[in-house]
Amino acid sequence: MTAIEIDGMTKRFGDVTAVRELSLEVEEGEVFGFLGPNGAGKSTTINVLLDFVRPTEGEVRVLGHDAHDESVAVRERIGVLPEGFSVYDRLTGRQHLEFAIESKAASDDPDALLERVGLSGDGDRKAGGYSKGMAQRLVLGMALVGDPDLLILDEPSTGLDPNGARQMRDIVREEAARGATVFFSSHILGQVEAVCDRVGIMRNGELVAEDSIEGLREATSADTVLRVTVGEVPEGALAAVRGIEGVGEVTHSGDSLRVSCDSDAKTTVLSTLEERGVDVRDFETEEASLEDLFMAYTTDGREVEA
């Protein structure tokens, strides 16, 4: 079954189109990373899944239920870490969890949940005194109540320190191992790379790419960046490098040359430079990070069909 089905969804707020004709499917059991810069339409999409806002056009189904008409049925089976929430200042962490357990008619143990999200010992404090990271952990704990079939996490690592972010990833992996589908948004790529099966990239309200991480890498023209420190660059040298098979973008500034290319074209690039009389003083290679892909997708407007 499909966990999330979005078909031709458009959301306009007055004159502003937040999301334009978005179609997206997330299969059951997948860990799906929803990427994009702030304002790309990620949170609006998630808010539609949760029925916080209603789409202007299109159909949205979550776990087989209509996201608006059957929203309560949807929310009985999902766990949510929303974006821009605040906790109830006067209630303790434990009372928050108890409220979630009662609301979902679940039978979880609040202490076990507190421990799982790293809040054991803080459960009897009022949540109003929690730091941003602690509040984030608490709400993640609420999201885990009742072993949901689908976890929707909107920017889950906001406010977390590196250790907290790692724990968050561990929990995502554990939940996926249990069989849950995980849909989370982020503008921080390291996390997505580490846990996702597939990613979708949003830009200006449109989905510009949707693929596995490996697929995304292959889809771009280059997956290695060669940085060469050079002396004089004679005329024609750059053109010769650009002509090599497997070489993508070549940029030159000062004594630095940046060449995107296939891994196996690296030696050819270096030998060609030397043949053309370029003084190669130093070089280093780096594998293209998701960051590069991200930049490529969100600024160049290149589109990849999934």
Partner: protein
């Protein structure tokens, strides 16, 4: 349906607020002050024979105050019930759980009603005990009816305020709306009623009886006046008398003549209760519909 969980959570949250305890002290203070005063004045002196009053005297004295204070406090307790959660973002937490927006609105009405009712009941219990200590003859039935109507008045204004809170997109708008409505009910209503009748007189033409009945009907639509006349009705043991008392001293004779021996059904007690309850249900229903269709 999970509104019970929402109501319980809301009440639990509010019970930890210092507000609730301040309110309880306020009600206890206000309700017990007159009796404490009387008790103090009577200390050491035997009650004058044959002149002992009843607890009804206490009700006459108190109802002017409660008719203004209870709505005011209900408004303070409830007007931000939904806008505050909406503005802070805790509403997202609430609606991430399997609660419908209907559950949220009803749960809030119930939770805030509890927050208001608890201190009112405490205030009445304390006042009742104190009355027993004075020479006033305790009339339990009337006292209980007074308490019941006061709780009902509180519920009406909680419903009205939660309805406005559900409909408003910001706390500021909700505050402007409830303040406006409060002033309208407490200060401007009678002149609104009189001017409406004058205008009707001018353009349609009303008989004296029609004029009195229309004025009375408009006055009864005001929940605070409905509350007071219902109290008067059981204290005076006559709905007709209590309705006549809604007019100023100089108009009472004319009103009595125009109304004759009996009240038309739409001015009778059950209808007054219905008008009062409408202020509870209609704003909640309208507020819910607006809230239900809103993008959060």
């Amino acid at each position: 349906m999970t509104w019970q969980a929402v109501a319980r959570k809301d009440f639990r949250d509010a019970v930890r607020s210092k507000w609730l305890w301040a309110l309880s002290f306020l009600f206890v203070g206000i309700f017990s002050l007159p009796t404490i005063l009387l008790f103090y004045l009577e200390m050491g002196t035997a009650p004058p024979q044959g002149e002992t009053g009843t607890s009804d005297a206490f009700i006459y004295l108190m109802k002017q105050g409660t008719s203004v204070l209870v709505p005011l406090i209900a408004i303070v307790v409830a007007y931000a019930s939904i806008t505050q959660e909406r503005e802070s973002g805790s509403l997202k937490l609430l609606l991430s759980l399997p609660h419908s927006r209907e559950d949220v609105v009803f749960g809030k009405v119930l939770g805030r009603a509890g927050v208001l009712t608890l201190p009112i009941v405490i205030g009445f219990v304390v006042a009742g005990v104190l009355i027993l200590l004075t020479s006033l003859e305790f009339q339990p039935a009337n006292f209980a009816l007074f308490a019941l109507l006061t709780v009902l008045l509180g519920l009406v204004f909680v419903g009205l305020s939660v309805g406005i809170s559900a409909a408003a997109s910001t706390g500021r708008r909700a505050m402007v709306a409830v303040t406006g409505i409060f002033i309208w009910f407490v200060v401007l209503w009678n002149s609104f009623a009189n001017q409406t009748v004058n205008a009707l007189n001018k353009y349609v033409g009303l008989s004296t009886q029609g004029e009195i009945q229309t004025t009375l009907f408009l006055k009864l639509l005001n929940p605070t006046q409905a509350y007071k006349t219902l109290i008067d009705a059981f204290l005076m043991d006559s709905a007709l008398q209590s309705r006549i008392f809604m007019f100023s001293f100089f108009r009472r004779q004319g009103a009595a003549q125009a109304l004759g021996d009996s009240l038309p059904v739409f001015l009778s007690d059950p209808f007054v209760v219905a008008y009062l309850l409408a202020w509870l249900f209609v704003p909640v229903a309208v507020g819910y519909r607006i809230f239900d269709s809103a993008d959060l």
